[in-house]
Symmetry: C2
Subunit: 497 residues, 2 copies
């Protein structure tokens, strides 16, 4: 039986996470519903809630309670995991001085504002002073966290998104991919050039029909509309909380294919959130484990399942029926080719499954060098272009299509990028293990029945919450650590056979 | 120059009201967007924010800061008003023990839950024990507040909704109306029976067209969609905050007339919120003054303006155009008759302008007797029916159409009802004064130009915020205290001429 200190911590963290959930709805509202004139007032509301959460987490008694909870009474495995996660959050929050937190937040806001105009103008010079300020504060933050957590500066930042993540593992995994992908990419491009060209269905696709199509597949995948919504925002995301999961998309009336796959991607995130352990709601142990695991769930649904020939063959008649499609654009063969077309490009968010990791590797290398002081912000455009040429054989015409394209760094999110590709590899490995564990999964997906797959994911991933480490969850589910061979095998099967 | 204590209070109340605005959006979301399965989680979020606001308001240092701010430095008139409002909120919050607040809140929740089924079943017996519990806690609350504020028990509750309101004034005003209305009602019913019957336009009125019609009139009235929205909820309301005003309606596809007038009513509330003094945003002095003044703004727009022959004559062609209407239902004459039809009925929210005050007078008398201990909850159905017969000449067939119809009491809102009719009288008096002050108002309204009227309301009501008392705002705007003669003259002109 745990003592009073543990229970006091549970109460405190329940309050913290309840406030976080409230903030998540306010953020969703900001992105989907809020009238533009409310921006300043909403920023104040968010800042106030942030400040209250920070003061609840860093209150002097928390450290004492944590120390007491360790001594005082016997904890179950779950409670021990919960205390470990509480400790992790508290350590990160107390490692930084109030002044540094405020300085970083101000630097981020100022830089993000300039980025809104500098990006479309492709004007790196205009943003450089702001980026230098952000980088200076990020380095200070990394140094303070590194000191407190006893890991490298990069890993100290990475840990926010990927608890327990280590750059030495990422270096190894990414070196393997970097060795494999450029050559593989050339083979795929050549292979696809010998196939019929994929054509995008032409026409006007009304938003309400696109929405209904998205909802139909969401329901097929198991999205529960009693606990969630689908709405529209400029940048699609999955927000809200486990009992109120809110995903968004954006619609293009001349192309339904992109929004549809976006909805399926966010549905993967949503099913993870929704499937987190009910018994640990409102406690750190009940939270999503890491961004790599989160992204693995969206990419498992999008890349592993919904871009597969089996799914697209089942889905084609539904798309045809929704939009009254006819002709050669509307065959399963064409839609499969369309959804697996590989073409190197400048923009990460438009990239296919094969080139995407190369975009990520480039960013990972650059941010690591900048955080560790081996590179300065002013050297970014040249280093970016050099990397793009080496990895993708492309030279961006301007920083707009180069180092200005992603908001992350300009808004202070450093150590985030590698989680995308860790997620892609994890998705391949989990889907492979799921099919090996339950032979019914492959056939049922082809019939539009996702129950067997989702049952496996719920048991092996969703319900684990943060009760174990990412590494332990993966090893228990698949029998091994993250192994790029599974991802490479998936790519070979899909793109060269 | 005020001293540090005053500024510390301003900072504290800014935080409080920022949190209140965040809660208002969460409440709006609950009523318009939230999936049903999120109800429990949302209730926790609201309770947590409520608890934080309560602890910010009742922190031990606040009393000292208020005492110091009174001594320390010279305050402007606005700052003095702000300090007065802060003191009022603090006094009310500290008058009640934590235990009593929690007990009342629990009693309300339990009773409100039973009401959801007892009302449709018309089953007063089922809810009586819960209502008795609510009433017991409400009486305790009234006693504690009465002690702290030095006013009667009823007035201590009334003060939450109507700061400075006194039941001796309400008794006098309502006695006057009670003397006038039943006889007047008989005259109007007889007068209208000699006129052609009003007919409701028949047809199917698609929701998107009804919405566009509502938006068109909202824009005409000056609603700013850069700072607000129109959405759908089961019970229409005006929520959000001054920079983000969110009104709702509900649509009936077989009748557009009811939703339209509902939208115009909420638009009146919205224009008041939006017009509150910019310089006092986030401070108690910048808040809406009282519920009677709030309701006066919605009723001024709905009853005084939008049900007037001048407005409806201007609006008829727009309705005809929107729905392709034709025939005798679609003439201005018929729509004016429809929107001013008087017919005694059981249900307050469906009541017309003439009978509505009688519904309110009944509720006021009963709640006052119950709060003061002159009547028990078990006697409510009989007293209700007796009052309905006396005031409106009707006997409700069951408590469903009687004392169970309104949520207010069952959810702990006691002392609220009179503000509806104070608002109706105030609306008549303000509109009368506005037309006397600016001769252009009458003609411009008939042309669909609301700028002169809104300019007068902004100067005389909206921008006053809570810088003065309701009484002072009314006297400065109209030259006198609330005078039922103006309301009675309005009714005679509209319904008997």
């Amino acid at each position: 039986m745990p003592g009073d200190a543990y229970h006091a911590l549970e109460r405190r963290f329940r309050r913290l996470l309840t406030l976080r959930d409230a903030q998540a709805i306010l953020h969703w509202d900001l992105a989907t519903m809020m009238p533009p004139g409310a921006a300043r007032a909403r920023a104040e509301q968010m800042a106030e809630l942030e400040a209250i959460r920070h003061s609840l987490l860093t209150a002097p008694e928390i450290g004492d309670l944590i120390a007491a909870a360790r001594q005082d009474g016997e904890l179950t495995l779950g409670q021990a995991a919960n205390l470990r996660e509480m400790t992790r959050l508290w350590r990160r929050a107390t490692a930084l001085s109030e002044d540094l937190v405020v300085a970083l937040s101000k630097a981020n806001s100022a830089c993000e504002t300039v980025w809104r105009t500098a990006r479309p103008a492709g004007d790196f010079t205009a943003i450089l002073p702001r980026l230098e300020e952000v980088l200076a504060r990020v380095r200070e933050t990394a140094a303070a966290l590194s000191e407190a957590l006893g890991v490298s500066r990069y890993d100290a930042l990475l840990d926010e998104y990927e608890p327990g993540g280590r750059s030495e593992d990422i270096d190894r995994l990414f070196a393997d991919l970097e060795d494999f992908l450029p050559r593989f990419l050339r083979e795929v491009v050549e292979h696809q050039s010998g196939q019929p060209a994929a054509t995008r269905p032409n026409g006007r696709f009304p938003i309400d029909k696109q929405r209904l199509l998205g909802v139909r597949f969401m329901e097929m995948l198991g999205f529960d509309f009693a606990h969630g919504r689908l709405d529209v925002s400029l940048h699609p995301f999955c927000g809200g909380s486990s009992d109120d999961v809110r995903i968004t998309t954006r619609y293009d009336e001349s192309d339904f294919t992109s929004s549809l796959m976006g909805v399926l991607h966010e549905t993967g995130h949503a099913l993870y959130e929704r499937g987190l352990p009910e018994d640990w709601r409102g406690q750190p142990a009940g939270e999503a484990r890491s961004l790599s695991l989160h992204e693995s769930q969206s990419l498992l649904v999008e890349m592993q399942v919904c871009r597969s020939p089996a799914f697209l063959t089942m889905a084609t008649p539904i798309m045809v029926e929704t939009f009254d499609g006819s002709g050669s654009d509307w065959t399963a063969e064409n839609l499969i080719r369309l959804y697996t077309r590989v073409k190197p490009g400048f923009i990460r968010v438009d990239a296919d499954e094969v080139t995407y990791p190369l975009h990520v590797i480039l960013r990972y290398r650059l941010e690591k060098a900048m955080i560790e002081g081996d590179m300065e912000a002013r050297d970014l455009p040249a280093a970016w272009d050099e990397g793009m040429r080496r990895l993708l054989g492309l030279a961006p015409p301007s920083p707009r299509e180069g180092c200005l394209q992603d908001l992350h760094w300009y808004d202070g999110a450093w150590g985030y990028f590698p989680t995308y590709t860790l997620g892609a590899m994890t998705a391949a490995q989990l889907f492979d293990a799921a099919r090996n564990a339950d032979a019914a999964i492959e056939d049922s997906v082809a019939r539009g029945d996702f129950a067997p797959l989702m049952a496996w994911l719920r048991d092996n991933v969703h319900e684990q919450g943060s009760l174990k480490t990412t590494q332990d969850i993966l090893v228990e589910a698949t029998g091994r650590s993250l192994d790029p061979e599974v991802f490479k095998r998936h790519l070979r099967t899909r793109y060269l056979s």
